[in-house]
């Protein structure tokens, strides 16, 4: 039962073939069974989940109107604020933080009558590409427990892959939904910047962060996006526009679709199995009536350094509020106010977070602003112009999501730059504020999933979801053996 997709659960509950309590129970049992191995959760809300499932069943029995995802069990990345429920960002700094308010997405999912199973693990404050920087635990890749699930939304991806929730939400600043979704064989989407409210998402890099779904299939991805998309007056960067149903727009028809394949994403550093799987997917598209050709995004190599400057600078400011005064961790020993700050922050943050705060503080500090932060924002403009040009000619762009399939624990933790390279295919999408969906397009010789990324123009979610929907039908998915 835990392998059901959200749309299947929705339909069965609607037809009274399934109750919310039954499906919630099935997931809690599943968590009981595999969580020891996968460790995707930071917090499991056993009792609360059963209570809300019962409440939903009651509503259904009483003939009351229920939300679009009534009874569907979900989990949220632990940087999405949930009222009175621990929201830790997988950091010692927020080990005990219970927000007095709900994030807009948490509220929307509550209004859709989903059942919240719990909060899932992540890289500390979403900084990382393997979920190894979590203060609490190391989440495993369900396909191979000796491999990382990717990151930063590693818990979100592993949770879905291990059938510990029907779907999850993650956040994506430079690939944090797409890279783990790919490494764990899920479908994940980073929507256009501004389409999903960031209110209640603990900020990493405000101008790049975006919330999105990780799901079992493309239809779920569209269906969930339907629920979380929309203007929010609480978020100034939220786009005020109307959205038609993305789920209903899925036709699977890609005839005439013009696909660009940026050569810069298929070069050195991209492993052979990944390249092969991506090319095979492109051929499948062609077979379905789409066309593709190699093209160029010449500035792509500048995306990663620009990304690290912008994201670290914004993070250094966003994370300054964690000082041991208002919430979360406070150091036990300190001499005075300045020492309280320094001691709390040094003990409360992990090494990677501190490294990024240092880089960002440096990039913004007197004398360096123009050389690093402003320069990166100018390069950002140029990269966006690159994309604009590409989308004059192509409907969507297809690339790998990650250079390799899932890597082993500790493999990249010694060299931060090497870890950053894991985002090489994904960061430019955040730089451009573009939407991109990833889905499994094959498996390597060890059975590890390979992710394909489909990038759209701003607000082009319908096109990329539909392309993904078409391709998904040509792929035989393999479930992890747990």
């Amino acid at each position: 039962m835990h392998t059901l997709t959200a749309h299947e659960i929705r339909d069965r509950i609607k037809n009274k073939e399934l109750s919310s309590v039954e499906i919630t129970k099935a997931y809690l049992d599943r968590i009981e069974k595999v969580e020891d191995k996968v460790e995707s959760y930071v917090t499991v809300l056993q009792e609360e989940a059963m209570q809300s499932a019962e409440a939903i069943d009651k509503k259904i029995a009483a003939g009351e109107e229920v939300g679009a995802l009534a009874g569907v069990p979900v989990a949220l990345k632990d940087n999405l604020c949930t009222k009175d429920v621990l929201t830790t960002c997988s950091s010692k700094m927020l080990y005990n933080f219970r927000p007095p308010y709900d994030s807009t997405v948490a509220k929307k999912l509550k209004d859709a009558d989903t059942v919240l199973l719990g909060k899932v693990n992540m890289d500390e404050f979403a900084m990382g590409s393997s979920t190894e920087t979590s203060y609490f635990k190391k989440t495993k890749n369900p396909y191979d427990l000796s491999k990382v699930p990717g990151g930063s939304s590693g818990g979100s991806a592993a949770c879905v892959a291990a059938d510990e929730a029907t779907f999850t939400l993650g956040s994506d600043t430079g690939g944090s939904i797409r890279q783990p979704a790919s490494l764990c064989g899920c479908v994940g989407m980073k929507p256009t910047y501004g389409t999903v409210s960031r209110f209640g998402l603990v900020a990493f890099a405000s101008s790049l962060d975006q919330i999105g779904p990780l799901a079992k299939d493309v239809q779920d991805c569209a269906l969930i996006y339907d629920q979380i998309v929309g203007y929010d007056p609480m978020d100034s960067t939220s786009v005020n526009r109307e959205y038609a149903s993305f789920e209903k727009a899925l036709t699977g028809d890609v005839k005439g679709l013009k696909i660009g394949m940026p050569a810069e994403y298929m070069g050195e550093g991209i492993s052979a199995p990944v390249q092969k799987a991506v090319l095979a997917a492109l051929e499948s598209f062609k077979a379905m009536g789409a066309s593709y050709e190699e093209m160029h995004l010449p500035l792509n190599e500048y995306a990663l350094p620009a990304y690290y400057m912008i994201s670290s600078a914004e993070a250094s400011s966003n994370l300054a509020r964690f000082d041991g005064v208002k919430y979360g961790f406070r150091a036990e020993k300190f001499e005075d106010l300045v020492d309280l700050y320094a001691q709390t922050r040094s003990e409360g943050f992990g090494a990677e977070v501190k490294r990024r705060i240092m880089i960002g503080t440096y990039a913004l500090s007197s004398g360096y602003y123009d050389a690093y932060y402003k320069k990166a924002q100018q390069v950002r403009t140029m990269i966006m112009q690159d994309f604009d040009k590409a989308f004059e000619k192509y409907d969507v762009l297809v690339t790998p999501t990650t250079p390799t399939t899932a890597f082993g624990f500790g493999e990249k933790t010694d060299d931060p730059l090497q870890m950053y390279m894991a985002d090489i295919c994904t960061v430019s999408v955040n730089i451009g504020g573009l939407p991109a969906v990833v889905l499994p397009c094959g498996y390597d010789e060890n059975g590890l999933p390979i992710g394909l990324q489909i990038i759209g123009k701003p607000f082009g979610e319908a096109a990329i979801l539909n392309a993904a929907y078409a391709l998904e039908k040509t792929i035989t998915k393999i479930k992890p053996a747990l």
């Binding site: 308010y101 960031r198 007056p233 300054a320 106010l337």
Partner: protein, 477 residues
């Protein structure tokens, strides 16, 4: 050597909006600690700011009133620093594209008009408050004031003396009151200023090294701190020393300032564009819409009082230096009272009462209609000028119609001709010599007889009426 003082001011004014700048919490002074807060103004993780449109309206309004050009493409920036009254550890402010730029304000010092440049006006959020006094080992952070909207007005270094700076501050305050963007309540800290002061040898073009003074909580403190700093710098320079660029903290109780930080440990605020807020594009239509809401400003009003009512410049200046006072004046005049009489009363006895009772300018406890009634009583001859002063005192003490007060205190003048004629006859009968003197052309006799009649009437006789009667009676005698 003689030195010239150069002063520039940074004035912070809290805007009187209903809500805070980035959240819907009430913008209200005071309250129990942390009762006017929410996750947004308390800097909870995940929260986002949304700009209150009225803050932009008010800043533009102030800018237009100070002859600024309005920046058509403006943005907000983060100013990063750690302090317990700043829960996000950054203040949202404006760095390189303030809403208003390049304006000026005309001030009048010793009868001379001087133009003072306004470099910029930008919007920003206020910080919270730390309470120290009641606790032995800790301070308590109260975030009620966090997110209260401010404008910071930065002047050019055009001021040349503490006195000029004082007039400038008073003028700014008046403009902010007239435009109704700020309450300017000094005692609630809704108007605060930082002072930059330097000296240069007379005749030198280049500015000297300046010092900044903070923690100035009243105009009086501003003036004192400037006088202190002027003296301090003069002494240093006269003794061959040099001025270090530094920030000093004014202690109003001790009447001195001490070094807070030197140039070396200047803060690095790491300004960058606030990614959670969008740029502002201010259209011409928007600017014109705001311009149309700007009332007559003090300068214009003063000119009107001079040209329309023939008031002396000094009187017109004083009347218009508080919007409340000027509004009161206008209303009384509009009821038909003589502008000169109203002005005399307001500038004279009323101003004295306000001063004595330590009221705010224009806080007159009775309505303009009552002042008009008082003036009418004088003009109709019902009461004398000196009786009117007594009536006014009563009007300040409690709400009562002037006519009732006159009645209650028995202050009305005797204007009844029969009664007055009897007094005139009585006095003439008692002073035949004075009649002779008057006839002989001794004017003093008339004054003497007037005095006698006033004495007999216990001061209630209407002097104009008896003057007339007395002359007629003497001519007949």
């Amino acid at each position: 050597m003689n030195y010239e003082t150069v002063i520039g001011l940074e004035v912070h004014a809290e805007l009187k909006t209903n809500t805070k700048i980035y959240c819907g919490c009430i913008n209200e002074f005071g309250g129990e600690p942390n009762t006017h807060t929410c996750p947004i103004c308390s800097g909870m993780p995940g929260t986002l700011p949304v700009l209150n449109k009225r803050v932009v309206d008010f800043a533009i309004k102030a800018g237009l009133a100070m002859n600024c050009s309005i920046t058509q493409y403006s943005k907000q920036d983060r100013k990063n620093y750690f302090y317990p009254d700043l829960p996000k550890a950054y203040q949202i402010s404006q760095f390189d594209l303030p809403l208003c730029q390049n304006g000026y304000v005309d001030i009048v010092v010793n009868g001379e008009t001087k133009r003072i440049g306004i470099t910029r006006i930008h919007i920003e959020e206020d910080a919270g408050k730390l309470v120290h006094d009641d606790y032995a080992n800790c301070s308590i952070a109260d975030y009620n004031r966090c997110g209260v909207p401010l404008i910071e007005i930065v002047s050019e270094p055009d001021l040349r003396s503490p006195e000029e700076a004082h007039v400038f501050l008073e003028t700014l305050k008046t403009i902010l009151e007239y435009t109704e963007v700020s309450d300017c309540k000094m005692q609630e800290g809704s108007l605060r200023c930082d002072v930059n002061l330097s000296l240069r040898p007379e005749g030198q073009k280049e500015f000297g090294t300046r010092c900044e003074m903070k923690n100035i909580n009243s105009f009086r403190a501003a003036v004192r701190s400037m006088e202190y700093e002027q003296k301090r710098q003069t002494e240093v320079l006269s003794n061959g020393g040099i001025i270090n660029q530094e920030t000093r903290r004014w202690d109003d109780v001790k009447g001195e300032s001490i070094v807070m930080r030197t140039k070396e440990d200047a803060q690095d605020y790491r300004y960058f564009p606030e990614p959670d807020l969008l740029p502002m594009i201010i259209s011409d239509e928007w600017i014109e819409e705001i311009r149309s809401t700007i009332p007559e400003l003090p300068e214009q009003r003063k000119s009107r009082y001079i040209s329309e009512f023939g008031l002396p410049e000094y009187d017109a200046f004083l009347l218009t230096s508080s919007k409340k006072t000027a509004d009161y004046f206008d209303e009384t005049v509009s009821l038909g009272a003589s502008p000169k009489a109203v002005s005399n009363w307001m500038m004279g006895d009323i101003a004295k009462f306000i001063n004595d009772k330590e009221l705010e300018a224009g806080d007159i406890p009775f309505a303009p209609a009552q002042l008009k009634a008082l003036i009418d009583l004088i003009e109709k001859g019902t009461i004398s000028n000196s009786a009117a002063k007594k009536v006014l005192a009563e009007m300040f003490a409690q709400p009562e119609e002037p006519e009732k007060i006159v009645e209650r205190l028995g202050l009305s003048q005797v204007s009844d001709e029969g009664a007055l004629m009897a007094m005139v006859q009585e006095v003439l009968a008692q002073n035949p010599q004075s009649i002779v003197d008057y006839k002989a052309g001794k004017d003093r006799a008339l004054g003497f007889l007037m005095g006698q009649i006033m004495r007999v009437s216990k001061g209630k006789a209407n002097p104009q009426v008896i003057n007339q009667m007395l002359k007629e009676a003497l001519d007949k005698a």
